[in-house]
């Protein structure tokens, strides 16, 4: 469990973090959301020990975090960068060793990550000889080479093409399965929805929303999305009393139920109206959850 407890950090007159508190259960994949300038990078740098908070503390497995804990963390900074003129494999081995690995262990792990990320044939090249996309993969390997217990990834998906996004997603899912705790920030909310069990929303240095994705996006149970074949206007619902019908795109309609109305009656009405193609309780998209959180 990683706990960020009342973290405050000011730069000049601006508070990047203002009593920010959140916790991440061990083994969870947590999406760290917030508009630009909300304090995400500052919080991540404090977790990684690169910045010191003005007040507050970070705890890992119940204890105040130490330098040795940091060696068990893997970090992908938002501003990517490795030594441009260093050989890819040497670079990964060096970073592994800085995290306390032996030469042999670091070499084995670096080689297997390069293999896994499809870069085995580039291991002997200088980093700058690689395409930007491949440099990003090396950067990911650099965060993973020492088999960290916690992964802190700042905008890991930015700049990746769809193939790269799939590759990274599958790496994250596998790492999570291995028991690694993953904390990543992203503006791509659909990806966050796919990958994360939990999200935290930060705004102006404070926590504004947190919880399981399923809970946050669950609607109130009175908004239904229904599609009846050939009935784009939702005329089948005309006889239902008190409901509001709003046409949506793709032949679907939103049906808003009044207090006390059983959704079962709507289902029966829809079936009578024609061939039922789609029927669900409407969920709140994560983007709406996000907007609500930062508006409050």
């Amino acid at each position: 469990m990683l706990e960020l407890d009342r973290l405050t950090r000011r730069f000049g007159g601006n508070a990047a973090l203002d009593g920010f508190t959140c916790s991440i259960p061990a083994g969870a994949v947590l999406g760290f959301l917030g508009p630009n300038g909300a304090g995400k990078t500052t919080a991540m740098r404090i977790v990684m020990g690169i910045l010191a908070p003005d007040s507050g503390e970070v705890r890992w497995q119940g204890r105040r975090i130490t330098a040795d804990d940091h060696l068990r963390f893997g970090y992908l900074p938002e501003e990517r960068g490795l030594y441009p003129r260093m050989i890819v494999l040497d670079q990964l081995v060096y970073l592994g060793r800085l995290h306390g690995m032996s030469e042999t262990a670091a070499r084995t792990s670096a080689t297997s990550w390069l293999d896994r990320l499809g870069l085995a044939d580039r291991a002997g090249d200088n980093l700058e000889a690689l395409s930007l996309g491949n440099q990003q993969r090396v950067q990911l390997a650099a965060a993973l080479v020492h088999s960290p217990d916690l992964l802190v990834l700042d905008e890991p998906f930015s700049g990746l093409d769809p193939v790269g996004i799939d590759a990274l997603s599958s790496v994250l899912e596998e790492e999570a399965k291995r028991g690694v705790t993953v904390l990543f920030s992203s503006h791509q909310l659909d990806l966050v929805e796919d990958l994360c069990e939990q999200v935290v929303v930060i705004h102006r240095g404070r926590l504004v929303a947190a919880g399981a994705v399923a809970d946050l996006t669950a609607g109130d149970g009175r908004s239904l999305v229904v599609e009846v074949d050939g009935d784009e206007a939702g005329t089948w619902a005309a006889r239902l009393k008190g409901v509001t019908v709003t046409p949506l795109r793709g032949g679907r309609v939103r049906v808003q139920l009044p207090e006390g109305r059983d959704p079962e009656t709507v289902l029966r009405a829809a079936r009578r109206g024609g061939v039922l193609r789609h029927f669900e309780f409407e969920r709140v998209p994560l983007s709406q959850v996000f907007r609500n959180a930062i508006a409050s």
Binding site: F11, G12, R45, P77, E78, G81, Y83, A142
Partner: protein, 405 residues
């Protein structure tokens, strides 16, 4: 888990390995080796034959004068050949055309080409003076009634040997070692200080710094870099010194017998102090900027004391006389590694004064090293605009430019 020492070793080893890989390093090492070997081998190969002077004697000149003039060769370390000339007019022409270097016209006149200044200590001047002296004595003794051969015999006995109790204050060997040390320190500081500077900037501009700092502390990174590049500088310097000594011994240059062990060790000591001082400051300077283009601006304040100390010290060394400025600079931390060895070489200081200078410089190295580490820690994560020295020295950073959030 890694200990501080093993982290330092890892970082220093990477610096060494990566520099050794570069072409620039190999080219530079070979080039400096060639310069050192060439500058010792070429003069000593040329200098293996003593110079030959032709002295013209206008007839009639006695056999004794012939012998006396030929006899000055060993005294000035040259071969002297005597050429007989028929008359004064021929003698003048012979000097003018360079057929002879000096023409002796009877006992009254020596004809030479270019005039000799008072105090000229060159071999040519010593030769001319010796010829004049030999003629004067020989003719004087003959005129005083001594037989020519007796007079020649009287003059043939060698001068008494000098037994010195203390070395001269302008001992060539110490001056040479100090000069070599001075040039080496200056050249190596420029070279390797530049590497420290650009190495730090590279880590900032490539942004690898953030990955590194998630595993190691800024102080470890700074120390590892300075130690690694310092070991390279030391190794390179040792290579040059060994090459110089070997070349000297192979070519039979007289340089070798002048180079004493103690001056080499003390020069090496000052070299290390100077390197430690400047390179930690270069690292601090590098941490203030994020782009290679700004390197010049930010390192300029370090160039000033280095240049001032280098040139005043060189002047003192070649002149053999220490100016007030050098005597003061010998106690100022950033200039002492240049000035103090020079004062020692020209015998202008007592041992206790050297000890004071070393203590001041060592103390300053420790303080400046800490200060530089603090500046480095504060500045190394701040990217974008150049940070001013003054701002970096303040305890808390005024503005930090976070990546985006």
């Amino acid at each position: 888990m890694s200990t501080g020492a093993s982290i330092l070793r890892l970082i220093a080893a990477r610096e060494i390995r990566e520099r050794l890989r570069t072409r620039a390093f190999r080219v530079m090492t070979v080039l400096t080796l060639l310069i050192v070997i060439g500058s010792i081998a070429i003069p000593s190969l040329q200098g293996s034959d003593p110079p030959v002077y032709d002295v013209g004697l206008v007839a009639p000149a006695s056999e004794a004068i012939h012998l006396a003039v030929e006899g000055i060769g060993p005294q000035i370390g040259a071969d002297v050949d005597v050429v007989d000339l028929p008359d004064a007019a021929t003698a003048e022409a012979a000097v003018r055309t360079g057929k002879v270097d000096v023409a002796v016209v009877g006992a009254e006149q020596l004809i030479i080409g270019k005039a000799i200044e008072r105090g000229d200590g060159s071999r040519r001047a010593r030769m001319v003076v010796s010829v004049a002296e030999a003629v004067r004595l020989q003719v004087g003794l003959e005129r005083a009634g001594l037989q020519a051969d007796k007079a020649a015999a009287a003059l043939a006995s060698p001068p008494p040997r000098l037994v010195a109790q203390r070395p001269s204050s302008t001992d060539d060997s110490r001056r040479f070692t100090a000069l070599a040390g001075l040039v080496l320190l200056y050249v190596q500081l420029l070279q390797y200080g530049g590497w420290v500077l650009f190495g730090v900037i590279e880590e900032k501009s490539s942004r690898v710094i953030e990955v590194l700092l998630s595993a190691v502390r800024p102080g470890q990174l700074l120390a590892g870099k300075v130690v690694g590049i310092g070991l390279l500088a030391l190794g390179h310097s040792l290579l040059l010194v060994v090459a110089a000594l070997v070349t000297a011994s192979v070519t039979g240059s007289d340089l070798l017998q002048h180079t004493a062990f103690v001056p080499i060790v003390t020069t090496a000591g000052w070299f290390l102090l100077g390197y430690a001082l400047y390179c930690t400051l270069y690292a601090a300077a590098g941490s203030l900027v994020s782009r290679q283009e700004d390197a010049q601006n930010v390192s300029a304040p370090l160039m000033l004391p280095m240049l001032a100390a280098y040139f005043t010290s060189i002047t003192a060394l070649t002149g053999g006389d220490a100016s007030m400025i050098v005597k003061v600079l010998a106690y100022v931390p950033l200039t002492a590694p240049f000035a103090m060895p020079v004062l020692v070489a020209i015998g202008a200081v007592h041992p206790w004064q050297v000890a004071v200078s070393v203590a001041i410089t060592l103390g300053a190295a420790i303080l400046l090293g800490r200060g530089a580490a603090a500046i480095y820690s504060r500045s190394v994560l701040r990217t974008g605009q150049r940070i001013r020295w003054r701002d970096a020295m303040r305890r808390a950073p005024a503005v930090e430019i976070p990546a985006s959030a």
